[in-house]
Amino acid sequence: MLDVRLPIGWLFLVLGVMLAAYGYANPPAESLLLGQVSLPLNLDVPWGILMALFGLAMVSLAQMDKLKVLEKQLQESKIASQADSSQVSLAETISGEITSNPSSSDAN
């Protein structure tokens, strides 16, 4: 099923980059309520960057989990194939023993 961190991550990454770029291209707005405090840069820039970083972190976490699951599956399939091959070799040894010593089975 879809990992919820992917849509969240991508949405914030896209919106963050958009805001930062828009803020960079536009001068800081005269904020009515801040009054005497003047802002050195458009607020969109730092907030956009923060959002993009958050989005990136979410996407990376989801990808890391995906890799972990793949790694686990790979390891499980390796163990399974090893078990298969050891079972095959055991079966070969047993069948070899039976063919080399047919009298033991005939005795029963």
Binding site: L2, L11, Y22, N26, L33, D44
Partner: protein, 543 residues
């Protein structure tokens, strides 16, 4: 188009548009996972607990929470934090530690279903019908609040914005069901945090410190949680009984511990521990949420002195939208209104996804069409989703006739949730409670609330404020339900102990409790103690 307070730029519309694309995308991506009614209505019990935890919190983060709490803060001051630190955290801890094991282990699909197992069919039917009515009434509030904000801020046509929001919610809930609703709630949680936090940061930069903010309050009581509670002459007009008994006990425990809208999120967790951790995970951000809602309300009342005048544009409810309009540059403004839009839509989706489950399982499958195929119930779930949304649009227009949506909502809670909490408390922790005792107790409690409301309307009962009336009404409804249930239980036959296994405290399930094996430091109880200690400290800090 008529212009509103703000002239939105293309960047603001682009933010909204991109959000819509993602929301719909999530629904369509999840569509292929919706194979059974269980997948659609219950999210297949496979959601990680951090996701259900944030969804649990966000389901309660609709229009009323965000705008209503800021409005309350502007009206009553920091006492509004009682809705969080007194009215939410203790109840969430109680749910996680004591009640969730019964909900999750009894394998119920909905809260009314628990009532059927513990009591009888009539009790379930009473609760299912009242809950279905309540959810559609509530979900309309979200649409209404959204339409009014966008009309005032951007000059959008109310009918147009209601139609667009309802269609988007319909599209993503009908494709992805509860999972889609939960995913969008988590998305909305982060949007609210990123969309509203700059208001608090900018406000704190503007004033410098908490004491500088307190110095600016016209009413010094606005800076204290408890100092003026001894009398009713505090900003909220409530006394100790109303506050602690009404809000702190009945209303908060009634909402957080029995409302299926929030319980449903916890039941979607992958295991019992996940379900128990859901309210705990939600409670940590909940403690800090006043920073996003109450603090902006306090800024608003200082910075916008005309706030609260009868003029629609400057009603208390407009505190947050107004601050977004005057504080944010374009771009960030788009993000802020997208956060509000997301909160309205997910508030509505949460109600609709709880409604469709209760309708499909507790009413349709139980009384109308028994023993049909699962595909049939899946189809009915989808149909109920669509009908729920259509009714919500209808109730949205009904809300327009009410003066204050906040009082309207609290009023509905006193009718349904307050007596229900007494039923649950007795049902889960008092073995002797009989099925008919529960039924008549619940009915009597609801009727007591109605009678109390009528007496208040006729001015035979008078309270300092609407809210004080609601708090007292909830105590009355709860007490009547409690006394009636106990009395009738002793007069009627209780259920056999065998039938109560896994449903009642002290009547163990066969096979014992598996969850008891986990370490103390990883248990919900341990985190619960931390949460309660933090809450107590905050109460002391802002005493």
């Amino acid at each position: 188009m008529k212009t509103g307070l703000v002239t939105a730029q293309p960047i603001d519309y682009a933010v909204i548009l991109i959000y819509f694309i993602f929301v719909l995308g999530v629904g369509f991506k999840l569509k292929k996972n919706m194979k059974s009614s269980d997948d659609f209505l219950l999210a297949g019990h496979r959601i990680p607990s951090w996701v259900t935890g944030l969804a649990f919190l966000s389901a309660n983060l609709g229009a009323i929470e965000v705008m209503g709490m800021a409005a309350n803060a502007a009206q009553y001051g920091i006492m509004t934090c009682h809705f969080y630190w007194l009215g939410a955290i203790p109840a969430m801890v109680f749910l996680a530690v004591f009640m969730m094991p019964f909900y999750y282990k009894s394998k119920i699909r909905s809260v009314p279903e628990y009532l059927r197992k513990r009591f009888n069919e009539p009790t379930r039917a009473l609760n299912a019908i009242s809950f279905a009515v309540m959810t559609v009434l509530m979900s309309g509030i979200n649409l209404y609040a959204m339409a009014i904000v966008f009309k005032l801020l951007l000059g959008w046509d109310m009918n147009g914005s209601i139609a667009v929001a309802a269609l988007v919610v319909l599209a993503y809930t009908i494709t992805g069901g509860l999972t889609s609703s939960i995913y969008n709630e988590v998305l909305q949680f982060f949007l609210i945090v990123f969309g509203l936090l700059p208001v608090s940061i900018l406000g704190l930069l503007r004033f410098g410190s908490w004491s500088a903010i307190c110095d600016r309050f016209e009413n010094p009581g606005f800076a204290h949680l408890w100092k003026e509670i001894g009398t009713i002459h505090n900003p909220m007009g409530v006394d100790m009984i109303g506050l602690i008994g009404g809000l702190g006990f009945v209303l908060s425990f009634g909402y957080w511990c029995t409302d299926f809208l929030v319980i449903q999120r916890a039941l979607a967790a992958e295991d019992l521990r996940g379900a128990r951790m859901t309210p705990i995970i939600a409670a940590f951000p909940k403690i800090l949420f006043p920073v996003l809602t109450v603090l902006p309300g306090l800024f608003a009342i200082i910075l916008i002195p005309k706030l609260g005048s009868n003029n629609d544009d400057l009603s208390f409810n407009m505190a947050i939208p107004y601050l977004l309009a005057v504080m944010y540059p374009n771009g960030l403004f788009g993000l802020g209104i997208t956060a509000l839009l997301a909160s309205f839509m997910s508030g509505m989706a949460g109600n609709v996804t709880a409604f469709n489950t209760v309708w499909t399982y507790d009413i349709y499958q139980s009384y109308i069409a028994k023993n049909k195929s699962d595909a049939h119930y899946l189809w009915m779930g989808k149909l109920a989703t669509a009908i729920g949304i259509i009714i919500s649009v209808g109730t949205c227009y009904l809300c327009m006739n009410f003066k204050s949506i906040m009082d309207y909502m609290q009023l509905i809670f006193t009718f349904f949730n307050a007596p229900l909490f007494a039923t649950f408390l007795l049902g889960m922790f008092f073995r002797r409670t009989s099925p008919w005792g529960a039924f008549y107790g619940l009915l009597g409690g609801t009727l007591a609330a109605v009678v109390h409301y009528i007496l208040t309307l006729q001015h035979k009962l008078n309270y300092q404020s609407e809210m004080a009336g609601n708090f007292h009404r909830s105590v009355v409804a709860w007490t009547v339900c409690l006394i009636l249930t106990i009395t009738i239980s002793y007069l009627t036959k209780p259920k056999a102990v065998e039938e109560l296994r896994g449903l009642v405290w002290g009547v163990d399930e066969k096979g014992g409790d598996v969850a008891a094996k986990t370490s103390v430091f990883a248990s919900p109880g341990f985190f619960g103690v931390i949460l309660l200690a933090l809450t107590a400290y905050l109460n002391y800090l802002f005493f």
